[in-house]
Subunit: 347 residues, 4 copies
């Protein structure tokens, strides 16, 4: 391994997002893990909690105190919503850069945030400064940011599906439908009967039909790009598998497009982490399992009907920890692909 140059901390290392961050950071050639915190597991070996790290790391979980974290150059929050916002102001003040993988800084409007997350925001003044960490859209702002709000998993898949068309203004944003499907790891790692394998194995269902927190996040992104008001229908579903998100996006056009495939291949030509499939392709979640990649295919099955965009990511990688490392690379001036060149695990 190369010499460690940057000291990073991970707050909340005992959830699925945290463990995935550790997997990536442990093999990142330019960073050293200074602290991994977990209030519940403090004092325990990290590898006792996560068998995949057995023999790979000597770390012990520590308490998330400010002194420890302030000694880091950059801190990731892989915590439940509402935790990061209590610590971030002090860390920024101490000159530490922050990437929050939870939702505390994703919405710019504090009122909208408080409505969807059901609590008061502890530092609403930072919402305007926080940069939404979708590199394919906000790369240069991320490079300058002190505080990055890592996007949600569904918003990443849906936004990347729509950006090529929304940017050129050819979509009727009043009628877009995003039918999304996620593996169970997206629901996190807490003791919840509804997530037992006995409950969700060998079954398929929708959830959150009446409203899901990722809806305002997607609308904010599409609205920012288009300048238009967005009326999106977003329905998430639970797939009996562990990892992966598949977004099926139905986009009625507001103007004809000559070469749909070219719009997508050209838009993403220079992006290392978005691949456009050849015409007629169907992306599969397994093709991005464990990789910081988004695979996209586009078709218009009937000239009178909507464009159909299929977009897959690994919810824990491009939908969470991988994208966070990508953002870290940008913030630190490292090559964007550093530590993110894993090939997806297929089969």
């Amino acid at each position: 391994m190369a010499q460690a140059e940057v000291k990073v901390g991970v707050v909340g290392g005992s959830g699925y997002t945290g463990i995935e961050l550790l997997r990536l950071l442990l093999r990142h050639p330019m960073v050293s893990l200074h602290a991994v915190t977990s209030r519940q597991e403090a004092g325990q070996a990290v590898s006792a909690q996560y068998g995949n790290l057995l023999g790979q790391v000597d770390l012990t979980f520590v308490e998330p105190d400010l002194a420890t974290l302030s000694a880091c150059d950059l801190v990731f929050f892989a915590t439940p919503n509402g935790v990061a916002m209590r610590l971030v102001p002090d860390l920024l003040a101490a000159g530490v850069r922050v990437i929050d993988l939870a939702a505390d800084f994703r919405l710019r409007d504090p009122a909208v945030w408080e409505q969807w997350y059901g609590m008061s925001h502890a530092c609403p003044e930072l919402l305007a400064e926080a940069v939404y960490g979708l590199p394919e859209l906000y790369r240069s702002a991320i490079q300058q940011a002190r505080l990055v709000a890592n996007p949600g998993c569904y918003p990443t898949a849906v936004s990347l599906a729509l950006l090529p068309l929304v940017t050129q203004g050819t979509v009727d944003l009043q009628r877009v439908i995003a039918d999304c499907k996620s593996g169970v790891s997206g629901a996190g790692r807490s003791a919840n009967v509804n997530l037992l394998m006995g409950e969700v194995g060998e079954s398929f269902k929708a959830y959150g039909v009446s409203g899901h927190r990722h809806l305002p996040e997607i609308s904010q992104t599409l609205g920012a790009v288009s300048g238009a008001e967005v009326q999106l229908t977003f329905i998430p579903h639970l797939v009996p598998m562990v990892r992966g998100i598949h977004a099926t996006v139905y986009a009625p056009l507001s103007a004809a497009i000559e070469d749909l495939q070219a719009v997508f291949t050209e838009y993403y030509a220079a992006e290392p982490f978005v691949q456009v499939l050849p015409p007629g392709g169907h992306p599969e979640t397994r093709c991005v399992r464990g990789a910081n990649q988004c695979h996209i295919a586009v078709q218009q099955p009937h000239p009178a009907g909507p464009v159909v965009i299929l977009s897959v990511i690994d919810n824990l990688v491009k939908g969470a920890a991988g994208q966070a490392v990508q953002n870290m690379n940008l913030m630190l001036g490292l090559p964007e692909e550093t530590g993110l060149q894993q090939v997806a695990l297929l089969p």
Copy 2:
């Protein structure tokens, strides 16, 4: 067991639809299995092919010859597309009633059929006579029918989701989207690398985006009910589970509806095999596993957006063999629920 009264035959008993028919017919109190045919397995014990029948039945697969089948009162075809149409005219002539679980008689227009199925139809003159076997829509015609075309699995789930609204004329049928998800048993039981568990396990994908044979079937049903032209977008997906279909149907309204929930509960109030969930519910495929049931929920998440209808069936039961037995009961004048009262297997 009750005395057998009706002699039935099953042609093509070695696929998933065939085995499911056997499971139901073996415990049906009013029928006796006269013949189960399979060209490939002729001479073998049925239970050697299907371990679930070990000790339950003494049947041996026989060749599908006309003499054997003509001795039946009713014959089911659980064969690949294109097989039934070669035998059905002779069977009808012999006074045998027929239910085809394949697609040979589902479309009324021979030209449309030949376009989607890629072969000439062997008896196009029967297409007009064949009754589409969706009892919730065509019950009385089925009761009189000699020949019933058992609906496809996706069309059953989607049609039942839309009937209450289409019947009252409140849907904009130019813009309906049916995003459907199926377990792998829907793809049948043939040696196909693409259906290996190593290929489809722990992964999710769409397929047939450019066009799927169930699209004209759904359009035909909705068109017949509405009298209008239908422009439907239908995208099927493959779920890493064995049984179950979940249809998520997006229906933009053409007229406001006062009490959406009541439209559905009233429409299906008398139906034994369709259950409408309480408001806010999310149907799960496991809740209908092994049962001849369709569970439906309906919501309109945003007043400016489409109505969202969630509909689940077991693709092999209400989507195939169970619905076929329901049709048989109607054709034979038996109580419609006879032999179909299994409770779904949960978990």
Copy 3:
């Protein structure tokens, strides 16, 4: 449905064993469900908890009070260990017969019970009276019993695998190994991080290697049959599927056997719920899914090595609720197969 003749109660109807009992009892032609209790869900519709019962039943969970239960002819306990023993003495005194699906009455020796279950037994005097509900072994005693201890899932699969050889005294009971594999529903339905699909999906592991409560239960049965002391090695494993147990039993012989296959087919010739596969067969858990069946195969791969017996059951049916109904039929003098003729759901 036939007329209800026997009033039964189910205590603890909200776990997997309880819901499976309801599935079977609702379609049993000779019983009526008088009460289904659940402290936590009292007042709620049973179908609100279990979507598979939607439209199938009007029952509401009630509190488990003695008056309600005393009005039953027979009461099933589908409760955690340690609950039944507090209510059973009063119920027996009231003339109610009892089947406990938990472990309270499975071990005859109170000291052994208290060692493995970590609590004092509330009515040790009943342990001698309770009949171990394995009908293939104790049929006539069950027919006379007031109190039946329904066997554990692993003990059912392992005992049925070994009975033919142990009965004839040809096994070296000091060296038997039972390597067992269970689907996750065997672990019950409680909020436990270790049973999340994110934890157990797509993975396989052993558990309880140092000791599992089903070990003394199996040893007790084999010891009772053989009259010998038993030294068994029993290792359970968790399979990433919902239902099913597969026991692979390694039995070194103490005497040569001429026709191994015949020993098994003859021993189980008259049993409706045990099927012996043809020579060379490999039982599959899916072949008994949802059915009250045990499938067994036997081979001796090498003359100098142990006999290998493969035994599969559905842990919730022949391993719990189905066997309980079988015991009820025996206790009530009904034909043993009543209400238990479901064909397994394959695929």
Copy 4:
């Protein structure tokens, strides 16, 4: 990426073992992929076959001709059994080193090989030269080898489980039992009805009880280490998951062992790819998914019973492609861990 220094070829790149080799070799810092052959896919882009490589590689499958392969420094065979033996003599003669991931060179006795593989061996004279590629046992011989026979997946898991005890001579090798469980990718990627997800999903079964080709391979290894005759019982099972092997090995002791745990931790103290769990641990296949690791735990549940050793690997990594790369590193004089430091993908 570092400069490529070694030219390698992969023959038979379109199976699961081949794709896994490509995943590892593409990110190996010291090799360049000179040729990937597939008779069936020749001319096609490798990424058209394997979506996980989309955008990651420009390779095209080529025909497996001698000229192309002779230009390589080292060639991997990821072909069906019986293919490598026809090409290997010419490649060795051309000075190319070879690693065969199939079984052609695993058994030293041609007669035993021909009995188990049902064909004549094309170059039996090479069997004595071929080195069995289990680095933990034959490291120094591998470093000198021209031809390495990469071990089977089951033999790797079972041999690593037993080596510490067999080396010290404390096991009764007449009575060892290896009860093994594998995910479906171990069965390969060919059109086989028995491997459809509809057949093996949500089910568990044993197979090959009467005899499996990995039995003589394991016996040969244990016999070579112990110098004794081995009478092993080996029963493989199929788990409804994609990757992973779990071996549960029952080893009756021939001599008492004071500190069982220490025997294992000391034996593997210096091994980078074998981890011994703390006492009481239960290894999980997910903890090695995608990683070239073997996790082992050991217990003796009862002093009178056998030692129980639990051993897990990813069948495609430490059980195939990863071990092959480990062998390549040894043969080429590279650090053994080069290109093999992936952390397992959990969850």
